[in-house]
């Protein structure tokens, strides 16, 4: 399993796991319909509290990243996750802030940042880039 937990970072373990699974789905490492391990099994493998893993699955389901079928297990959802507009916007701005801070310290000019983002979008056919570009144009 590629999932990793790092205690002692000051970030709740369920947040760490959610981020990793979200990333894996966005990058295609986890494909639609793919099954996730049962809660107890994953908790054992990662050596973390089963309630933590259960919470990860619940939250991801709420966000539409995975679906849980009773008695069958949890699966990566087909199609893109459905977050509330406000929540989506907030998270995107946060991610862009991080990107821009890094670009500042690397001394990248704005055109290079934009170009790199466009190239990144072109590499990910699943992600339609309009929203992200709009966000970048504003900042």
């Amino acid at each position: 399993m590629w999932l990793r937990v790092e205690p002692g970072r000051g970030i709740p373990i369920y947040v760490q796991l959610m981020e990793q699974i979200r990333m894996a789905v966005a990058s295609g490492l986890l494909g639609p319909g793919e099954q996730l391990p049962p809660v107890r099994e994953l908790a054992g493998r990662l050596a973390v509290n089963p309630n933590t893993v259960a919470k990860v699955y619940q939250e991801l389901e709420r966000e539409g990243v995975i679906t849980t079928r009773r008695g069958k297990g949890s699966f990566v959802a087909a199609g893109s996750p459905q977050l509330k507009e406000e929540e989506r916007k907030k998270r995107l701005i946060l991610a862009v802030d991080r990107l821009l801070a890094e670009a500042y310290h690397l001394g990248c000019p704005p055109e290079e940042v934009m170009e790199t983002v466009r190239a990144g979008l072109a590499d990910r056919p699943g992600l339609e880039g309009r929203e992200l570009e709009k966000e970048l144009d504003q900042s």
Binding site: V5, P7, G8, R9, G10, I11, P12, I13, Y14, V15, R40, A43, G44, A47, V48, N49, P50, N51, T52, K55
Partner: protein, 304 residues
């Protein structure tokens, strides 16, 4: 008063223990829901072992009431002990007994003893049934105590420093076992520990105990998400009302910056800071250790 209809795994109200005129535990109100893993954290002498011993009726409380699995451990001692697994702190094991003899003894004591499981754990822990306790390493004694606590497959496990003397590989092995076989089966664990990294993996709730006081008792995720420090620079002066903003516990000055020690309301605070002109700030995550130290310092400041 304790409501008998509601039955968490552990419930105490005003639990107090005075020992030689010194309150080692003061007015403890603890509530541990069934199916959770609760870590009691605190420095030596904070009252962790005293709490566990009171719940096992190994000490008599000076005041207060408690329920363990819905039963009063003082009047229903045998019933409580038959459903609770207890791993005492190191040094409570009869020195001249052999591992096998202790296992036999406990098997006879507990009707729910799972011989098959105990045997598989015993092998996993590398415990020789012929070995004499006195000759076991510190880590092996800890594993033996854990084995005896797990044997009856109790509804509630009380573990007093379950990582004493264990190397990282054994510690991980113990965590996995507790996760899969105890927490995964919906049973409850109350443990005391100094190892905060392991606590983060295992626990879903934590309590901070300091000088006999329970400073807080909260879900771990909530604690890590809400306890933050915000470093801020106010070129036009610190707002006079800053210390009364929601969630602000206290203010500190460090390297010419103002540090807001914050408990919750993080989003609201960042919005307020954003609305001020020329203010720069950063929200810093706090580790469990940082948070504990912050609370212990505030507790110490109170007695000065």
């Amino acid at each position: 008063m304790i409501n008998p209809d509601y039955e968490p795994a552990v419930l105490t109200r005003g639990l107090t223990k005075v020992f030689k005129g010194l309150a080692v535990l003061q007015d403890l109100n603890l509530e541990i829901p069934r199916g959770s893993v609760f870590a009691l954290l605190g420095p030596n002498g904070a009252g962790k072992t005293t709490t566990i011993k009171l719940l096992m009726n190994l000490l008599q409380p000076t005041a207060g009431e408690m329920l363990v699995l819905g039963l009063d451990p003082i009047t229903r001692g045998v019933a409580v002990r038959s459903r609770v697994g207890y791993q005492p702190e190191i040094g409570q094991m009869p020195e001249y007994a052999r591992v096998g003899e202790l296992l036999e003894l406990c098997r006879a004591l507990y009707p729910t003893w799972n011989t098959c499981k105990v045997e598989s754990y015993r092998r996993e822990f590398g415990l020789d049934p012929r070995a004499v306790v006195k000759h076991l390493s510190k880590g092996r004694v800890t594993l033996l105590a854990l084995l005896l606590a797990l044997g009856p497959e109790p509804e509630l496990l009380l573990l007093d420093e379950p990582d004493t003397g264990l190397d990282p590989v054994r510690r991980r092995q113990v965590i996995k076992l507790l996760v899969e076989d105890v927490a995964g089966a919906g049973r409850t664990i109350l443990l005391s520990s100094h190892n905060l990294t392991d606590v983060e993996r295992l626990a879903d709730r934590v309590g901070f105990l300091n000088r006999g006081h329970l400073l807080l008792s909260r879900p771990l995720d909530e604690l890590l998400a809400e306890e933050k420090k915000i470093w801020a620079v106010f070129p036009d002066g610190v707002p006079a009302s800053l210390s009364t903003w929601p969630g602000v516990r206290r203010l500190e000055q460090e390297d010419g910056r103002t540090v807001l020690v914050v408990s919750g309301h993080v989003e609201e605070l960042t919005e307020r800071l954003c609305s001020l002109d020329r203010v720069t700030f950063e929200v810093l995550d706090q580790t469990l250790e940082d948070i504990f130290i912050t609370y212990a310092e505030e507790d110490r400041a109170l007695i000065r």
